[in-house]
Amino acid sequence: MTRTIARLALAAAGLALLPGFAQAQKNAPNNDLAAQAEQVFRSSFRADNPKYWMTRLDQDEAMRLCSQYRDNPPPKLRAQIEKAQAATIRYPVEGKLIGDWKEGEKLAAVGTGGHIGFIQPDPPGRVRGGNCYACHQLAKKEVAYGTIGPSLHHFGKLRGTSDEIVKYTYDKIYNSNAFTACTNMPRFGLHSWLTPEQITHIVAFLVDPESPVNKD
């Protein structure tokens, strides 16, 4: 790993670490109540939810630890989660990490897909997007952006398009927890929410000098 990436990762981890984990540990509910709460939670879903929907309530190791420590695990666990998550990252077969920024622009704006249930499920074939604007500023012309994540306006303009930056960007979208355990950002690649190819399009939207993210 190059120095740039290491620095980025360190900065991200450092920011998340600041509040300290003493607070998190104090807040971690005792196991007895957690077991009761799990039981109440699991039994609160409609009996006619298909089994494969119900698997969405299952937690992998990272989810379980992040929940237990309220997204603020102690340093040792944090490192353990990040290492395990980094190992999940897969790349497109042809190896090219920059796709088409125009496709990426579309994916960044789409917030639909993956909704289940009986009231307002997504219709079959509904496009699944990255919903990037929900949390990030990107192209300047889109005023309706969220602030849960940092502004990514001029992402490529500020960082360039070196192989390291491109790989970092791809990896971060594929599995955000490889860099910051328990971050708010979904693990888009791990869950196959986005395909590796779709992720390369979003990478292009972020780093391509022609992308509206890097204009204006």
Partner: protein
Amino acid sequence: MHSIVQAALAAATLGLAGAALAQGSTMDEIAKYREMLADGNPAELLEAKGEDLWKKPRGPKNASLEQCDMGLGPGKLEGAYAQLPRYFADTKKVMDAESRVVHCMVSLQGFTQEEATRNWYSRPGRESDIEALVTYIGAKSNGEKINVPARHPEEARMAKIGEHIFYRRSGPQDFSCAICHGQEGKRIRLQELGNLTTQAGAGTAMGNWPSYRVSQGAVWTMQRRLIDCMRQARWPEPTYLSDSIIALEVFLQKTASGTVMQTPGIKR
């Protein structure tokens, strides 16, 4: 208008960056949008209908709901919503406004549980009595302080369970309630996200419901609101009136206690 002028003046004086100014005016215009909608909330139409439904004899027992005990004694509605959910000795359960109304429709009016809850939310061409009733009952707590101390052991247990669910991550987007509602001063798109772990944040979130949602063209109750949060988390669908939803309500109302209700609200 005043605030826009002020913002412009401040920007000119301080020589703020163009981007900051543009974003400031975006939020000013959103504020103007909300202000224009606040006067004339369609939820008031439903509130009137709810009052009618409360007072009219209905159901197999041809009884009104006027003797329904929402927690402060039979028929006492003023301030009742602001003190829910609470433990009810007659059912030995912690109940929220909606589960209690349904309980009264069953016990006083003779409806079956299925009949009472069949249309728990409205959709085009199908109205919901529960939505109307809860809008009416909620409005009877307008201006009242939320007060859910959760001192009864069952209430305290439910608050803890709600807290557990609030931080619980799962699903194909790794969501929990906390990832959007656990920090200060964040937005999703242009909508401010309350930090529901603080009194002020939870107060802003809880005190405006039931609320008319302009994007849905309908009033949403708190059950509808929370069940939809789980839909947005891409989880399966919770059961209406289930303990998870009530537990989250206890947790949030407890956190919000002391803040003043302004309901019915109007939101995007």
